[in-house]
């Protein structure tokens, strides 16, 4: 708690800075693409959001594995705090991709392998959130959700390699590939800044969410402790 309290403001400031500079570079400084024109600027949101969607799922799966193996309660909280963020990034990725696809591909949506597998990722996030909240006993929900998160990991390599396995509409990787990136430095730098900004944003909100969850749990324990004598009294009265 103390460490997170110390780190949090710095994280927030760094997020604001990188996102601010990244957005300025992406929207005003980076040149328009020779084919895509100004619409290429959507990519500066879309690509980092897609990276984050997978990165957050990786974190969720890692936290779930830690929660299942070592039964560390903080890992459960981290997973539950990360899931809605991951769902948000996935949705952002799908929506910006759709907005970009309309002028570029001439359609809002195609049943391409990459698009479909990201949609499945979105449903996995939703399923995780729904499953965690479906039990009266929070620990059971957390445990079940962790198992589901680990089962869903099979989808991540499918997303990553879908553009190589199935040669459909979505273009193949241009940055993380053998032989170096294929895009120009003037676009690469804003993209990296945006990616760092997104990661920092995730970290900041994740910390806030975990802190809130811990505080909420402490409050609940305090309330229970306050109520307990009354309950004993009620129990004793009904027994007599």
């Amino acid at each position: 708690m103390r460490l997170s309290a110390a780190v949090l403001p710095w994280c927030a400031i760094a997020t604001a800075l990188t996102l601010g500079v990244g957005l300025y570079l992406a929207l005003f400084v980076a040149p328009p693409d020779y084919q895509q024109g100004e619409a290429v600027r959507i990519m500066f949101i879309h690509v980092p959001a897609a990276w984050m969607a997978m990165f957050v799922y990786g974190n969720l799966a890692l936290a779930s594995a830690v929660a299942l193996i070592w039964r560390h309660p903080l890992a459960d909280l981290a997973g539950q705090a990360a899931a809605p963020l991951g769902a948000g990034f996935t949705l952002l990725c799908l929506v910006t991709g759709s907005l970009w696809g309309q002028p570029m591909w001439g359609t809002w949506w195609v049943w391409d392998a990459r698009l479909t597998s990201v949609l499945v990722l979105f449903f996995l996030y939703l399923g995780y959130i729904a499953l965690v909240n479906a039990f009266d006993e929070p620990t059971r929900g957390a445990r079940a959700g962790a198992i589901l998160a680990l089962v869903g990991v099979v989808n991540i390599p499918i997303i990553k390699f879908s553009v190589d396995w199935w040669n459909t509409l979505h273009q193949p990787a241009s940055i993380m590939r053998m032989g170096g990136p294929t895009i120009d430095a003037s676009m690469l730098w804003p993209l990296f800044l945006m990616a760092i900004g997104f990661t920092l944003y995730f970290l900041t909100v994740l910390l806030i969410r975990i802190r809130t969850a811990i505080i909420a749990r402490k409050l609940q324990v305090l309330r229970m402790a306050e109520l307990e004598p009354d309950e004993d009294f009620a129990g004793a009265r009904s027994a007599s």
Binding site: L68, T116, V120, F123, L124, L126, G127, A130, L131, A134, F135, D136, R140, R143, A144, I147, L148, L150, V151, G152
Partner: protein, 221 residues
């Protein structure tokens, strides 16, 4: 091995004595497929075009419908705890229950599929491949579904939640199941699609019982 066989026999006997389960699933399958000619119109060309997809989607939904019965009854009357305590590993219990579930619900679906293909005017070249693809695909449906059924044991609104969890995971089976039939009708090679379906099943046989047994253990804690 003997315990495994006895468990399969017990589940089959339970299913046949109670009756209804397999009949309901097949009934749902047939009725839902029959709705499509009313919905999209009875033109044979349209039906032949969408036939393979309709049969596969409906088979997925029918399989989903029967999944909540997989562990619920045993969970509620406590037999699941006895099974967990038995010398048979819980993973093997899961495999046995999936096998029984497939015989009761998956196999009737496979048998009913050619009849429905007839209703939908499917091209004759697609029949053997449809049956083969369903034979390879439906065990995966039971196995993947078992994970969801175990995870949602005792959950509020378990049925709806189960479909939210499991349907996204069914998509690969659907894609390759339909692709095999369409390839056969189009005169292309259907072998790769069938091999991928077989690979799904072979991967699901060891992996799904692991996850299902873990989910059952936490449900029984």
């Amino acid at each position: 091995m003997r315990a495994f066989r006895l468990l399969v026999q017990r589940d089959l006997r339970l299913a046949f004595r109670q009756g209804g389960d397999a009949a309901m699933v097949v009934g749902f399958f047939v009725l839902t497929v029959i709705l499509f000619p009313f919905g999209v119109g009875p033109e044979p060309e349209i039906l032949a075009r969408i036939g393979a997809g309709v049969i596969w989607v409906t088979a997925l939904l029918a399989a989903l419908l029967s999944l909540d019965r997989l562990f619920t009854a045993d969970y509620e009357d406590g037999s699941l705890e006895i099974l967990a305590l038995s010398p048979l590993p819980l993973e093997a219990v899961v495999v046995a229950k999936c096998l029984a579930h497939w015989i009761v619900t998956g196999l009737p679906l496979v048998l009913a599929a050619p009849l429905l293909a007839l209703f939908l005017n499917l091209d004759a070249a697609g029949y053997p491949v449809l049956i083969l693809a369903m034979l390879l695909g439906t065990p995966s449906l039971s196995l993947i579904g078992a994970v969801g059924a175990a995870l949602t044991l005792g959950a509020r609104r378990g049925g709806v939640l189960l479909s939210l969890l499991i349907l996204p995971l069914y998509i690969p089976v659907l894609i390759f199941g339909v692709a095999a039939v369409e390839a056969a009708i189009g005169g292309l090679s259907f072998r790769p699609h069938l091999m991928i379906l077989g690979a799904f099943m072979l991967a699901a046989i060891p992996l799904s019982p692991l996850a299902t047994a873990a989910a059952l253990r936490q449900a029984l804690e």
